[in-house]
């Protein structure tokens, strides 16, 4: 992208005017419904705004960092951060590994049913979480399908969604199921960019499949992997829909995520407090992205 090098001539000025004409409807909507709320949210987090103050804005006081201090003294919020952390630390690598295995399998000389497989693995991505939750509740409930299948091999499964230990892993499983497809497609595109000659050279040197994967494919896929890790990380940090439709954050807050905590506070009318919580999550997202860039860029 070259900058406006043409100077301040009238032609450049006219182009600027025309260009902003193209951007105007977007900009108006963007400022009102996106940039505005982002800044308003930050401003609100330093006030004591609640649902009662909506009609009487002069009752709102600036309270500085009080909301943030209260947040980190609230055990439930800390607990929700830990749950979200577990969800990200387990869920993201698991999704990446499974999606990578599927992509590799699809990319290794499979000729028949390639499109069918791809559609099948991608299908969960396009479906409504609410609809899927109805089916998954039936799969995971005490007398549900999963425990029915387990009983065939003599295992008495837990009541997955009601068990304080198993509820979170159940939701992680569901989220992995729902997100494999996106990464699979990204990895399939990335695999096309791995130079074939490198593979052939490694094969001549006697490298086996596993060695070739770690020494040829993986290094070439670094940018794709970084990208996948960042977008999955961002998505998983906002972990909301699964607990909302499956467990409401229960049992005993075992699946309460930070986004859900924020939403609950909003529901109670604690608008400023909810805004502060959402900004903590936002900062966590930025930090996680930076860490991932550091880790995966190191060897470049």
């Amino acid at each position: 992208m070259s900058a406006t090098a043409t100077g301040r001539g009238t032609r450049a000025g006219r182009q600027t005017l025309i260009a902003w004409g193209f951007a105007a409807p977007f900009m108006i909507l963007f400022l009102v419904f996106m940039a505005g709320p982002i800044l308003a949210s930050l401003a609100m987090s330093f006030t004591d705004l609640t649902t009662r103050d909506l009609r009487t804005p002069f009752n709102v006081n600036i309270v500085g960092l009080e909301n943030y201090v209260r947040l980190f003294q609230d055990e439930r919020f800390i607990h929700s951060l830990l749950n979200t952390g577990v969800f990200v630390i387990v869920g993201v690598p698991l999704t990446i590994v499974v999606a990578m295995l599927v992509a590799l399998a699809l990319n290794t000389g499979i000729t028949k049913f390639r499109t069918v497989f791809r559609v099948g693995y991608y299908a969960p991505v396009v479906t409504s979480i609410v609809a899927i939750a109805i089916v998954w509740r039936f799969i995971l409930q005490n007398d549900g399908i999963l425990n029915g299948v387990l009983s065939w091999v003599g295992i008495t499964g837990p009541n997955w969604l009601e068990d304080t230990f198993w509820a979170l892993p159940s939701l992680i499983l569901m989220a992995v199921w729902r997100n494999i497809g996106t990464l699979m497609v990204i990895f399939l595109a990335g695999l096309q960019g791995v130079p074939k000659e490198h593979h052939e050279a490694a094969m001549v040197d006697g490298a086996n499949v596993v060695q070739r994967f770690f020494n040829v494919t993986l290094p070439a896929m670094r940018p794709t992997l970084l990208f996948a890790a960042v977008i999955t990380g961002i998505g998983f940090l906002q972990f909301f829909e699964e607990p909302f439709v499956m467990t409401r954050g229960g049992p005993l807050d075992a699946t309460l995520s930070s986004a859900m905590y924020t939403f609950n506070q909003f529901g109670f009318g604690n608008y400023s407090y909810a805004s502060a919580a959402s900004y903590v999550l936002f900062i966590a997202i930025v930090l996680l992205s930076l860490i991932q860039f550091r880790l995966l860029k190191r060897e470049d």
Binding site: A19, V185, L237
Partner: protein, 311 residues
């Protein structure tokens, strides 16, 4: 805060697709032109197929079970949760769904909202996309950084002030309240900008020499070439709107404005929760239209993901 990270994000976003040609390559290999290691040892292929097939069944099993369950009576689902084929197929669940519960209204609401949101995204994203891709102007970099920067802002951050705004504008429980916040998406702009950047400059220059205005070039030269990108954007936006849950749940406060996911979520708790057949039918009505669209147009999905890297 977001501005600090955006160059890096931009770099990562641009990394995986090596231009608009990569999606066709990704989908074009179905013919099996790649000479994999299978050439030397054909044996493991059978195992690959078996493993892939097992995974495939695990992925689609919930859908199969849901569709078949929607044709079963509640008693049958309870008696035999592991059974697949309905013993006495019945349409009762569907007649109840559209008779007793007002699913026709919810369906209409979902369609109205999704169509408006999709149209808005196509028109506005194409316009900004063209400016960002082919026009030189002051503030262009800033505009692009703004778009990319907001790609990673979580929905919960804008959620609270957006609701305050909507309620102050008196738009709670109205179509505009459901639609306006989604008329533009940074992703849509990014997608259109990426695609239009790949179009040759010569045709635009030729039109300019002929004296065509930028608006005319946009409408007559650029847009007719944007078919694939518009198709991708249409599918992704329609789908996003169709499945959108959190915002409609808060803004639609009475039944006549419920969208399908909201209605389904609110009806699937309480006494209805035990009406398995009915709930499965509801899930089918929400899922099957998009699943069909996806299967028919799946190559555009792949293209969209390869172009932007985001679902």
């Amino acid at each position: 805060m977001s501005a600090v990270t955006t160059p890096a994000v931009a770099e990562a976003l641009e990394a995986p697709p090596s231009g608009p040609s990569s999606p066709s390559r990704a989908s074009g290999t179905t013919s099996g032109t790649d000479s994999g290691s299978g050439h030397f040892k054909p044996r493991p292929k059978i195992w690959l197929y078996i493993v892939l097939a097992v995974g495939f069944v695990a992925m689609i099993f919930p859908f199969i079970w849901m569709i078949l369950g929607s044709f079963k009576t509640n008693a049958e689902i309870r008696a035999n949760p592991l059974g697949l084929l309905p013993a006495e197929p019945t349409l009762d669940n569907y007649t109840q769904l559209f008779g007793r519960l007002d699913f026709t209204t919810f369906f209409t609401n979902s369609v109205v909202v999704a169509v408006c949101v999709t149209l808005g995204n196509i028109v506005f994203s194409s316009m900004v996309g063209y400016a960002l891709a082919k026009l030189e102007f002051r503030g262009k970099k800033l505009l692009f950084v703004l778009v990319l920067g907001t790609l990673m802002v979580p929905g919960v951050v804008t959620f609270v002030p957006l609701f305050v705004l909507t309620s102050n504008l008196g738009l709670v429980n109205s179509y505009p309240g459901l639609i306006l916040p989604f008329l533009i998406t940074p992703l849509g702009v990014f997608l259109m900008r990426q695609f239009i950047s790949g179009l040759p400059d010569d045709i635009i220059e030729a039109a300019r020499i002929d004296g065509a205005s930028e608006w005319r070039i946009f409408l007559r030269v650029i847009m007719p070439l944007c078919g694939p990108a518009v198709a991708t954007l249409t599918i992704l936006t329609f789908l996003g709107s169709w499945n959108n849950f959190l915002w409609p749940l808060v803004v639609a406060t009475s039944e006549e404005k419920y969208t399908l996911p909201v209605a389904l979520a609110l009806y699937s708790v309480g006494q209805n929760a035990a009406q398995y057949g009915l709930m499965m039918a509801g899930a089918v009505v929400v899922v099957i239209p998009v699943l069909l669209v996806f299967i028919i147009l799946q190559r555009y999905f792949v293209q969209g993901i390869a172009l932007t890297g985001i679902k």
